[in-house]
Structures are given as structure tokens and as C-alpha cells.
Amino acid sequence: MKRELFSFTGGIRFDDYHKRESTRQAVVAAPLPARLVLPLHQHIGEGGEALVQPGDKVLKGQPIARAVSYVSAPLHAPTSGTVVKVGDEKVPHPSGLSAPCIVIEPDGEDTWAPRQSHARDYAEMNPSALRNLIREAGIVGLGGAGFPSYVKLNPGHNPVETLILNGAECEPFITCDDMLMRQRADEIVKGSLIIRHALGARQTLIAIEDNKPEAIAAMRGAVQRLAPEHTEVVSVPTLYPAGGEKQLIYTLTGKEVPSDGLPVHIGVVCQNVATTGAIFRAVYHGEPLLSRWLTVTGGVAEPRNLEVLLGTPVDELIRFCGGKPERCRRIIMGGPMMGFALHAHDLPVIKTTNCILVDDGRQPDLAGRQYAMPCIRCGACADACPVRLLPQQLYWYAQAGEFDRCQEYHLFDCIECGCCDYVCPAHLPLVQYYRYAKGEIWKRERERQQAELARERHEFRLFRLEREKKERAAKRQQKKAALAKETSAQGDAQAKQAAIQAALERVKAKKARQTRENTPPEQGDS
């Protein structure tokens, strides 16, 4: 049976995917470095909170940071050793800034903390307990963005029809998922059964681009052995960005994830194959996420895939593969389309690092940017955009600072895949403009919110003053009224008193008259 596939618009078919170079050798573990630097924040969401202090001895797999909120992930010691620092270190991030890290000096023993396997009983665990297990293992999406995995395993009240395992690996140069599928197919399929159990998904589709025939064959074999029902390996056309989540879902189901929605809203959950492998290890072996497979390629003598402990400095990997870090012109973490250039040679590998692409100045495909010409409105960018945006308009409004227009042209639907930039004959740094515009809009939004808050506060203050004034006025009024009442009451009393007085006077007068008659007049009227 041939499954019907849908093709998204746009996309790029590269001439050379540069995948052969790094798939010739079997995957080996990279040597243990002298220092492991573990950023507390290496995934989408909130960073973890350190549980250790300098001087603490840690065992392999021991938690060293805990998740602080729902979208957060814990961190574990990748090997046994001593914590030597908890503080700021340079981290791999496009900004080139420093951030809180835990630094561990390995003792070389690699002594494990106790582990617990759930290989036999996971099927009896309820999904929430299973999710918690995966959360405690610190697993985040290993394919790129690094969204904490257990969040995706919680469909809420949305029924999940399809679980998609993303093995498309559509960017050039990167081959770590390919190698993992070739060598660890069984683990991935077993992992998919765990996820399926957590989600209650009806079917599982494992999507692999058709330029990876070995991986497709290996995965088909594993599916045949372990999960022949409800699981299918689907070979999808090689077309960047086929592995983009929304693009892949469309390719397989013909459904578009709504712009403001999540895949689960249309009954789909996507997980990367490496993430699935990590979930398998967590559940079957009680191993938290301590290492990952990644590709070291480009300007190195021996491009290959390595199993690398989190926190390993990149320059050691480059050296291990026969490259010279000090001769690098540019070191890209991630792929050539969406990865970012590192600001230093010795930055650590983090959970989302799938590739170290070395540009030693001799890679013709990584030649660097040419002189940017004006946009000639050729529309090549729009033809290439998988989201059907009009990149030339977005660019125009971004460079003119007309950010409202950018939003009108759906800037925030841009996935920064770089297709438009790649094909632009004017060599315009389009994606850079979009990032800038998004940043400005966020900044404005923050400022607007702050202004709004300030305005609200100010208005509230005015309101309060007004209210107080009114209250005071009202009080005054009341007092007056009370006073008036009092005075009028007093008035009555006075009248009475006056009457009494008058009466008294009359009596007095009478008396006086009587007295005048017999007393001297100086005692008269007062």
C-alpha cells in the first residue's frame, strides 16, 4: 500500500547534501574531556535551578539541577566527578553571552548513581506517571528547538490520532539521526511504543527523507520485528524543510496546523527520533539524558558522528575529528540553514546540539555572504517560502521599520528556515532582518505592556485621588448635613430656650417692675 503524501509549497532541493562525508564511519564515543560545562538553560522554557554546590561529589546520572516550572527540565551529571563551579560561563547562544552553568571535573570512574528500569512495567504505569519519569530524565526535543518532551506527551483533552516520529533530517550536513536510525532502530521503535502508550495514539508514522535508504531499511526491519501493527515507516521526498514540524505534518496528513495552534489540536504529536531513543533509555534503563549523538563535519579531516557527553567543549570534538579549531573561520552549531555561528571555540555541547559544522575557509558551500544588492522583486524568495509568506515585503517593511506592516504580512509565521535567503539573487540577509523585526516587535510589546501598566497605575492613581476627593467631599457634605441638622436641632432648642428666656425675662421684667417699684434703677435691664 502506498500512502498518499502531500507536498507543501516552496522549499529547497540542494545540489549536494554533504551527508556522505559523515556517514562513512561507525559512531564512537568522544573522549572524556577535562571539564564539562552544563548551562542550566538549554531548552525552550525556563532554565533549571542548581541542586549542587562547588565541591560536591556527583555520580553519573545524579540530578544536579531541577525543573522550576511546567516548561522546564532538570539536568544530570553526565559522568561522576566533582562540581568545581556554579556560576556564569560562556554558553552556546546566538547572542554570545554568558549564563549560569554547572562545571564538573570528571573523576574518570564514570560511576553510576542507582538506576531503575521500567522495561517491564511501563505499560501498567498511567500516562501521567510515565510523563513524570520522562520529565525527571531531563529529556527535551533533540532535533532542534529543545522543547521539554513530557509537555508534548500531555495531550490534555485533545484526542491523538497520529504520532509522527521525525526522522526527516532535512538540513544538509547533519547525519546524526540518520546514523541513530541505522544503528539503534530497535531502541527508537521501542521508544515509540512508550510514547504511543503515553498519548494513546492510534497510529505511528516514522517519516524519513528518501535520501536515507539505509535508515529507511533499518527502521522498516525494526518495525517489522517489534511493532508491525499501527506503525509505518514513510519515505518522504527530500525537500528542505521537510523536517519542519508543520511541514512534516502537512506532508503526511495534508492538514495544516493552525497558525495560532499546536499539532495536538489537529490530533498529531511529533517527536524527533533521537528524542524517542532517549525516552527509550530513560524508561528501559533508567538513564537520564546525559549524552547525545552529533555530527562533526565540514572542514575537518574525518567528518563523522560521535556520542558526546553534554558539556563537552566543541574544540575538543573538532580536534578529535582531525580539525584545527584555531584555524576555523566559523563554527556553526546546528545545520547550515538554521544553525548559529559560535562566538568561541570552546563552548559546550548542549542537549539540542545536533551538529558542529566547521568552516575552515575552504568549504565552497559555506563561502559566506556576498555584497547585498537592492531587492529586485524577483519573487524567488516567495516561491521558496514553505509558509507562503512574501519575504520581499517582509524585508521591505522590516528595513523601513514598519513593524505593524510586518505583522500584517504575518512575520510571526516565519519559521526562519532560510529558504528565501538561500535563493535571493540580491544576497539580502533576509532572515537577519526578520529576527531583528521580531525582536523589535517584542521589545515594543514589552514596552507597550509596561506603558500600559504604567498607564493603568497612573489612571488608578488618578482614580484613587478622585475617589478620595469624592469621598472627602462626600464626608464633608455629610458633616455639613450633620452639622446643619445639629444646628437646626440646636435652633429648636434655642427657640425653646429663647421662649424660656423670654418667659423668664417676662417674669424678670415683671419682677423688675415689681422691684423697681421698691429698688434702685441700676439693677434694671441687662
Partner: protein, 339 residues
């Protein structure tokens, strides 16, 4: 050593504006070869002269506008403009006609609007329109189909030959001829059948030129330098207009085939209307834009006072392009039908 940290993507297709423009020039070569075969070396003289002049004007304007010379002078856009202009005017037009046209196109229509990428109108067509309005006699004195050698052509172009010499080598274009004859109450079939100017479908020379430009244009589509929408929409709308009127009264209105093989149709459809800067850029917008040009070409040809409608049709639609684009934004992925 500090690292190079540009923003992604880190890979780029092997493409550039210069490459795009060179392919456009390359695609014009079959048409130019046909010109040489049919009319001799006049067109080559014009093209060389116009190229030099266009580059000179471009350099001057870049200097005045304080722009870097090298990237812009080598982008090829000025040469494309110069060539399109030359291919629109008579191959033996006097040199000053070419010069004025080129200067108009490069200095006014291109640089005074902000240079490459900023011109709302197709520069070559602005130059052409200015010439046609200012010098109708020179612009309509088309060369009679007889190959001239290099010396003859150069002397006709540069030496201001006397009237009789000129008259001997010029004639009306087949379309003009048809127009005047129809004015004399002849039927289309009569005119075409009884004049040596006409070949199988339309003017003898014109049908060959149009075929060659069509071939070049198809190659451009295949090379993905231009989209198919504008040429297809323009040719289709022109053919439909012609078919409707031809069916209504075949004696007075020429057939769709005649219109498709006449004048600057293929040059216009594949090379002029598709000038990216001044055209529509959305897929649906390109269809509307092309169709608009096709309809206007037919209207101007049939009822207007000018020999061919391509230039004015293109210029008129240039004005509409931004509006067309605005109302034909594609539906963004994940946004449903209403948005």
C-alpha cells in the same frame, strides 16, 4: 583568532543578479540572431552602441549618487535595459534616437527613481514611450526586410543619410500596413494574401522574430529566471480577445494567431512584462498583471493610435502592480481561507 559570526543561513545558492541578467541576455540571443539574418548588422551596431552608452550613463549616475561602481556596473541590469530598448526600435534608427532612449531609460526612469530595484516603471519602456511620442516618424520607419552589411548599417545609423536613401530601406511594419489597409475598407484576408510583407501567420519577419523570442523565453522559464504566469496570462488574454472579435467579424479583426505572431508580443511577454522590479510579484497577481497587459495590447493595437501596444500596456500595468500585489497576497500556511 576571532570567529566569523554571521546570522543564518550559512549556505547560499549559487545565484546573483548578474547571473539572472546574463541569462536574460543569453535568452535574447536567438531573437538577435534572427534579426541579423533578416535585417543584417544594424541591430548589432545598435546593441553595441547602446550597451556602451548605458554603461557610461550608469557609471555616471552611480558616481553622482555616491554608490559603489563595481557591484552595480557588473550587475548587468543596464545592459538588459539597453538591449530591450534596441529590440523595440527600428534597427536602423539614427544613433541619436538610441542615445536619447537609453539616457531616458537609465538616467530618468532608473536612477532618478532610486536605481536598481526602485524603479516603478520598466526603464526600457519609458525610453521607448518617450521616443515614440517625441519622434514618431523615426520610430515608425521600420527597416524593410533586407540584410545590410556592417558598413551599410553603420552609415545609416551614424551618418544621417539623405531622405531618398532612407526611404529606400524603410517600410511600414506589417501591422501598420494592415491597419492602414483596413482603414481603406479591405478585409484582413485580402490584405494578408496580397502583400509580400506577410508570411504564414503574420508579418514574414515578425513571425520568425516572435518564434525566436518565444524559444528564448521558454528557456528562461525552464531556468526559473521568470515565472510562467505573466507570459502565459498575457498571451492567453491577447489570444482570447483576438478570438472573440475575430469570431464576431473576421473581415475586420485579425485572428489570434496573427496577433500572437505580430509586433513585439513575445519579446513583451517573456522579457519586458516580466521585468521583476516593475511587475507584480505574487503568483495570482502575476496572472492578473499579465492578463491586463494582454487585454491592453489588443485594445491599443486595434483601436489605439500607436503601432504596437506593448510598451504602453506594460507601463499602465506597472502603475497597478503594487495594488494588485496588495490584494493578491497568498494564503499563509495555517491561516485558513478567510485570511
Amino acid at each position: 583568532m576571532s570567529l566569523y559570526t554571521p546570522s543564518s543561513p550559512h549556505m547560499h545558492a549559487d545565484t546573483s543578479i548578474a547571473q539572472v541578467m546574463s541569462k536574460v541576455l543569453l535568452a535574447l540571443l536567438p531573437g538577435i540572431a534572427a534579426y541579423v539574418w533578416l535585417f543584417g548588422w544594424g541591430i548589432v551596431v545598435q546593441l553595441s552602441f547602446a550597451t556602451l552608452l548605458a554603461l557610461g550613463a550608469e557609471a555616471l549616475m552611480l558616481r553622482l549618487r555616491r554608490r559603489p561602481l563595481l557591484p552595480f556596473l557588473t550587475d548587468g541590469s543596464a545592459i538588459v535595459t539597453a538591449w530591450l530598448l534596441c529590440l523595440s526600435i527600428p534597427p536602423i534608427a539614427p544613433w541619436w534616437i538610441t542615445a536619447i532612449g537609453v539616457l531616458f531609460a537609465i538616467v530618468l526612469a532608473k536612477h532618478l527613481y532610486g536605481g536598481l530595484g526602485y524603479n516603478p516603471f520598466n526603464p526600457a519602456m519609458v525610453g521607448y514611450a518617450a521616443l515614440l511620442i517625441s519622434f514618431p516618424a523615426e520610430m515608425t520607419a521600420w527597416q524593410a526586410p533586407q540584410p545590410l552589411d556592417l558598413a551599410q548599417a553603420a552609415s545609416l545609423i551614424f551618418l544621417a543619410p539623405p531622405r531618398e536613401v532612407l526611404d529606400a530601406v524603410t517600410s511600414a511594419t506589417p501591422m501598420d500596413f494592415l491597419r492602414t489597409q483596413l482603414g481603406l475598407d479591405k478585409t484582413v484576408d485580402e490584405v494578408i494574401a496580397h502583400s509580400p510583407l506577410f508570411g504564414y501567420l503574420a508579418g514574414k519577419t515578425q513571425e520568425i522574430l516572435n518564434l525566436m523570442f518565444l524559444l528564448g523565453g521558454l528557456w528562461l522559464i525552464k531556468q526559473r529566471i521568470i515565472g510562467w504566469q505573466i507570459p502565459v496570462a498575457m498571451l492567453a488574454s491577447l489570444a482570447i480577445m483576438a478570438a472573440v472579435f475575430h469570431l464576431y467579424d473576421p473581415e475586420r479583426f485579425a485572428s489570434p494567431a496573427f496577433h500572437l505572431a505580430s509586433g513585439a508580443v513575445m519579446l513583451g511577454a517573456f522579457f519586458i512584462a516580466t521585468d521583476p522590479v516593475s511587475a507584480s510579484t505574487t503568483p495570482r497577481g502575476r496572472l492578473i498583471y499579465g492578463a491586463g497587459i494582454g487585454i491592453l495590447v489588443y485594445v491599443i493595437r486595434t483601436w489605439g493610435g500607436y503601432p504596437d501596444g506593448v510598451a504602453f500596456a506594460v507601463l499602465l500595468l506597472n502603475i497597478c502592480a503594487p495594488t494588485i500585489d496588495y490584494y493578491t497576497k497568498p494564503r499563509v500556511f495555517g491561516h485558513g481561507d478567510k485570511d
